[in-house]
Symmetry: C2
Subunit: 450 residues, 2 copies
């Protein structure tokens, strides 16, 4: 094995790095864990792995939900967590250059101190890393206004499968010189190269958001509100949905004084400072016109914090219900109501609870299948419901994953989504970047059957 | 040759389709021109070309400035101009699905009639096609606020080199299922596949813009204004720069009553309706604080039309000066003043006029080398100035092309920008998509030397 002070084969340490946050799907037995501090150490690992045809599994903070960072048998786990330096924050060009192991929250704080703003805010932002965010093209609550991680990535340093170092993209706001390899690496889940440096675009700091909350008798009125509000041309900085089961779970966990019999909730925010009250008035108007039973508009950011508490509590409240499998489907906005109704029906059919919340403004929901991991029959029913939700998403013109990625969890479904030609093009791209198949093998697309 | 009613070998017709708008670089002698009306005809052409190893040059409206659509010897010119149907405009999901030959202005008008807005607005928008815009990842004036073409492309149908039909991307606002092939095709200048259908995102219609104009003694103050204004977090819908030589050319063409001795001009627009006057006040304040000699703010859109007339006249005014070679470099905003000063010095050194205007908010300028095509010495000096500008752009941390593309004009410079590893990855990608090298060979990257 590669001898270096950043490589360990200690079984206890390996065990700790073996998995990410995915349910189902078995993590393999790794050979070693490498925690390099510099690009040239990553180069050495890749050269060694390439020469000896050893699989390499790049890892960030292992907060992923799809198994993308889980070990495969005989692999070197390549954790980028020690490459955690912020190399530059440019206050004129509004860019930051970081090593991949910088935690999202650390970068966000560092740039906020300079009056700047890094928008991508995945749920895991307090622990997940920029490298992991780029590798999975992470989303978050503010995508509806600001876009996803890939909308902010300008330049990458990537160590290729054979150890060569590629710099790609550019520091400038625009550029069309050559193929867009930055976007190709972004979201490729470690299957095409190992990201060792990232330059992201920043924005001037936004104002503290104001918040509004609207209650509806059924999801249909909430979905109609989403469409009506976005057609005004206003871009909320947050536009979240919670269904009845989610609201019930939150209310059971903490009494927030919600009205009885809430069929659906929308939470909207605007961070446009002096224009925010007007934005939220427009939201309230749209909600009432679409049949909201009640609308609350916070008069200041602190009151808004109270209103958005329900959304913040979803994770912990739903966790009280049992074991969870968090799904992630995205459909065109016009099909959102059908998706929500369909999820309720799927839960009923398979006898599992599926509370559902998510980024309504983007059509991206997170139905959470609740099951009992100790009961094989419950696991089976949970998995069946999970599959049924993905099939429904595709049937509605959507995608099997809006922001969580494919990993191993959704690999079979990806083949369905891509179709035969799409899959074969994916395989050709993978082959071009990683002819020996050492980079995160079996993730996103299956290993070649040969 | 392929027998079909959409294929012609008439020499006069071929001659008319042989070139795009690029200067320098020789267009080849094509074998035939195909003008299919449907995807299955494109499939037939590609199958034939693939089998017989015949080069295929995809063409939109041939308004490109880099030779990307120019014929290569022995090629089938594949014009998509007859595939010009708007297939769908979705007023709820804010998308449009079009064939590639739809002219940008036609789409813009069609969606405007429904209260929607397709932002990408390359200079050629009244004649260039959506397929061509996607193939070159076209920019325009409004990029500074809305982004470039690739920010709007959601889904593509692409006929691959061997005639297989790939659908890639998705209708949804978000999605991370598989590699981002949409972005890989976008801007690949017809070298990876032939785009036969495009779904773009739309936005609700913006308000009519208000306009402000600021005059400066030198470019430095103008560049400082750009930085200061963008740091306020406001996003102008237009932020254009014109240097002294451009203003002089415009004034010589038409007296707009500009003050004497203008060293630089900035034009800003805001389309935020009721917030626009406030935006322009902030711009005026930033300009004055940075040393503007005069600032004019239009009080209504009609007055704004007068103020922006200077920018509209640049093309025709500069054309009076002689033959033109329009360059396109993009640098980080912080280096804009150095770029502008450097361009003046290059013009002086090589004895050619280089009026310079462009999209200052993105750091993307179009220095236009003026020369006499009938005088070989003038041509030589023009080319040398052109090269020197690209070298300068790279030296300032920029790119050789912000929005016009590589084609054949900048192929050698692309190698410099990409570097050895970058070039080899580009070649591997090209090889994966087009192993026989029939798709627009010699464009963007050189043909393999074998």
């Amino acid at each position: 094995m590669l001898e270096a002070d950043y490589v360990t084969t200690d079984p206890d340490v390996l065990e700790a790095y073996r998995s990410d946050q995915a349910r189902f799907g078995r993590a393999g037995q790794p050979l070693a864990l490498a925690r390099p501090r510099e690009t040239r150490e990553v180069v050495r690992i890749l050269e060694y792995a390439h020469e000896h045809r050893i699989p390499v599994v790049p890892q960030g903070a292992r907060t992923g939900l799809s198994g993308g960072a889980a070990a495969v048998d005989g692999a070197i786990l390549l954790s980028l967590e020690r490459m955690d330096r912020i190399l530059d924050v440019d206050e004129v060009d509004h860019t930051a250059t970081v090593q991949p192991g910088v935690v999202n929250a650390v970068l966000s704080k560092a740039v906020a101190d300079k009056g700047l703003f890094y928008p991508p805010d995945p749920g895991s932002w307090e622990s997940s890393t920029i490298g992991g965010n780029v590798a999975t093209n992470a989303g978050g609550l503010c995508c509806v206004k600001y876009g996803v991680t890939s909308d902010f990535v300008r330049e990458l340093e990537v160590v290729l499968a054979d150890g060569r170092v590629l710099r790609t993209g550019r520091h400038t706001a625009k550029g069309v010189a050559g193929y867009d390899l930055v976007r190709l690496f972004t979201g490729s889940e470690g299957t095409l190269g190992v990201i060792t440096e990232v330059t992201v675009a920043l924005r001037p700091a936004a104002e503290k958001p104001l918040t509004a909350l609207a209650f509806f008798a059924t999801p249909v009125e909430a979905c109609r509100t989403v469409t009506a509000y976005l057609s005004t041309g206003r871009r909320p900085s947050v536009l979240e949905f919670m269904d009845r089961a989610t609201v019930d779970a939150v209310s059971a966990y903490r009494d927030l004084g919600f009205p009885d019999d809430v069929g659906a909730v929308l939470i909207a925010q605007s961070d446009r400072g002096p224009a925010a009250p007007d934005d939220l008035d427009a939201f309230a108007r749209a909600a009432r016109e679409c049949g909201a039973t009640e609308v609350l508009v916070a008069s200041d950011p602190a009151e808004g914090d109270l209103l958005i508490e329900a959304r913040r509590l979803v994770g912990v409240a739903v966790a009280q219900l049992g074991d969870q499998l968090i799904d992630d489907v995205c459909v065109p906005r016009s099909r959102l109501a059908e998706l929500i109704d369909g999820i309720v029906a799927i839960g009923r059919e398979h006898g599992v609870a599926v509370p559902c919340c998510g980024h309504a403004g983007d059509g991206n929901l997170h139905p959470t299948v609740v099951f009992d991991a100790a009961d094989p029959e419950s696991v089976r029913r949970g998995q069946a419901a999970f599959d049924a939700i993905m099939a429904l998403g595709l049937r509605l013109g959507g995608t099997i994953t809006g922001e969580h990625g494919v990993g191993t969890l959704k690999r079979a479904w990806l083949e369905t989504e891509l179709g035969e030609v799409g899959l074969s093009v994916h395989q050709a791209v993978k082959q071009a970047f990683d002819p020996r198949g050492i980079l995160n093998p079996g993730k996103v697309i299956a290993r070649p059957s040969c």
